[in-house]
């Protein structure tokens, strides 16, 4: 295996705005051809990181290395990156073709090459018949495509996308997510996206970084971030989770997690658990049991349904256990006639596999 090539290397990046620290000592790397997503609540500094990479803001400390070249002090118009803005920021006085060509013309690329690249990109975004239109005549999704085309036509080392889909309606957003992924794969370009939408992050990224108040909490691949998060914050931010509070008790031959909610949980002996760790279980990993039989490696519990939200394909229910603790369960609505069992007030048995438990650092 050769060394992985990094498109972006951030080293101890820090940015302050007056009294607030927007980006606080952030370091991470983005590999080549990755679809990297920064996920976090609004105001956590995720957009500021993009703007720092693009050079639209200057960092107070730290380095930005793009494709092996230190770009920390390079002016924005010389950096080999292009950005897709949340507001699209298309030039209102130029038609679609001129909008897309803008960057190429500035760089004085010859006419034939400009034509070839623009033609290619127009086919890619399926906007050939719109080249003479103006941005004001396009729908949100079409403007989004043009904004993307205007960025990728320059062959940047990395495309920075600042909440690009937040202004679109739900169906179009899903369509555009798929399109973004396809374009990224076809072009073998590195994409870096910022979003507060967890579903978006999960469905399009190859890697996710979760941020909170200026710091990166955790970086992981999309599936691992959901299935094996290591931090309580990231587990709670990405999807729902039942947190099981308790403490680890080491006996000579057993490692036991003593929890209030499910009692003692036997853990594998060789597991490395930090002292202040908690356990977590995703709501969809818990299933409703019809028999009261004991099965190996499964933790069983019983409770009363106190809340039921119906989503068509899924039901999100909350059950209250005998010890007054609440757990969330996501049930697939497989049969119509079993919906009765989920009614508020009904008593349910539920169980989950020990192997699905997640160990989380606080």
């Amino acid at each position: 295996m050769t060394d992985k090539k990094f498109t972006i290397e951030l080293k101890n990046l820090t940015k302050k705005f007056e009294n607030t620290i927007a980006v606080d000592d952030v370091s991470f790397n983005v590999e080549e051809n990755e679809f990297f997503t920064i996920l976090g609540p609004s105001g956590c500094g995720k957009s500021t990181i993009l703007r720092l990479i693009a050079g639209l803001e200057g960092q107070d400390q730290g380095e930005i290395i793009i494709n092996g070249i230190d770009c920390s002090k390079m002016p924005a118009n010389e950096r080999p990156v292009n950005m897709v803005f949340q507001s699209y920021a298309l030039f209102p006085h130029l038609n679609i073709k001129d909008n897309i060509e803008f960057g190429l013309k500035i760089k004085k690329i010859d006419e034939k090459e400009i034509k070839r690249r623009v033609d290619e990109i127009l086919d890619l975004i399926k906007m050939r018949s719109y080249i003479n239109k103006y941005p004001s005549e396009l729908s949100g999704g079409q403007r989004q495509r043009v904004a993307l085309a205007r960025a990728i036509v320059n062959n940047p080392k990395i495309v920075l996308l600042d909440e690009p889909l937040s202004a679109l309606d739900a169906n179009l957003r899903i369509e555009m997510q798929r399109e973004l992924v396809n374009i990224q794969r076809n072009l073998e370009m590195t994409f870096m996206l910022v979003t507060h939408d967890q579903d978006e992050a999960l469905s399009i990224s190859s890697k996710i970084a979760i941020m909170e108040s200026g710091k990166v909490i955790e970086t992981n691949t999309a599936t691992n971030m959901y299935e094996y998060p290591s931090k309580k914050y990231s587990a709670e931010f990405l999807g729902r989770i039942n947190i099981i509070d308790g403490y680890v008790s080491n006996t000579s031959d057993q490692k036991i997690f003593k929890s209030e909610i499910f009692g003692d949980i036997n853990l594998e002996n060789d597991l490395d658990i930090p002292q202040d760790a908690v356990l977590g279980i995703r709501p969809e990993k818990i299933i409703i049991e019809r028999s009261s039989k004991n099965i190996e490696n499964r933790i069983k519990t019983k409770g009363t349904v106190i809340d039921w939200t119906y989503y068509g394909d899924m039901s999100y229910i909350t059950i209250e256990l005998d010890n007054k603790k609440k757990i969330y369960i996501h049930v697939q609505n497989i049969h119509r006639n079993t919906l009765q069992e989920l009614k508020i007030g009904k008593t349910l048995r539920a169980s989950f596999d020990i192997n699905d438990l997640i160990i989380l650092e606080k």
């Binding site: 050079g55 950005m83 507001s87 006085h93 803008f102 239109k133 103006y134 005549e137 205007r150």
Partner: protein
Amino acid sequence: MKKSLFYSPTDYARNKYLKYITFIFLITLYLPILNLIIFSFNDSKRNIVWRGFTTKYYNNVFENDVLFSAFLNSLTIATLSTIISTILGLTTAITLWKFNFYLKKYYDLALLFPIIIPEICMGISMLVFFNFINWPAFEIWPLTLSNIIIAHVSFTFPFIAIIIRSRLAILNTDTLEAGLDLGANNIQIIRLIIIPFIKPAIIASFLLAFTLSLDDFVVTFFTSGPNSVTLPVKIYSMVRFGITPEINAVSTLLILILIFCTFFVIRYLSKNNREVLDD
């Protein structure tokens, strides 16, 4: 009466009372001008009663050297002062929009001053000012007009700055960042993004300033000398000896020039809009 219930209260075009009011408004606005134009063809020295059609007063205007030179002065002043105030107004607008500086708020207010100050005060202050600094009385044309041009710049450039600034206010700053991100330097951003975006405002304000300057009387009256008489000042001095059809004729020509200018601007602007709206 019942019919009125079937359109929405904001559907003003269908309200017949509003239609009458609009009609009366337009009549009162344009009837005097129409009257002026009609009586410019009146074959009468006194010009009070209609005595038949003639175009001889138009010939008189073109043969009248004093009137023609006054007209030439007016055009020169309007053109030069508007060019200077467009440059000043444009740079002022960009500065006020883009930069924050000490006492900016008061600078903003000071910009409004030439607009709200009574013209008569402006005229007198200009007169006092040019006397105070001993502005030389030039002999060579168009330097003879220099003080009028300066005076006109001082009251037209705030209009230009304010119009351009209101257009700049709706320019999304993301667009400028997008330009920077796509490799444009500051000069290219101004040339390729800002200027094309505010072009309609520049043209509109240029024309407004041009018309303001062309028909200004009060400020010009106080700053003009015997060698620098403008058309409105000349008309005023002619009126003192009685209103002749000649005055009507020259006023009609002035109106025609203004209509002509406005027509081209509207055509230009609507062409621009068409490009934005369809293919």
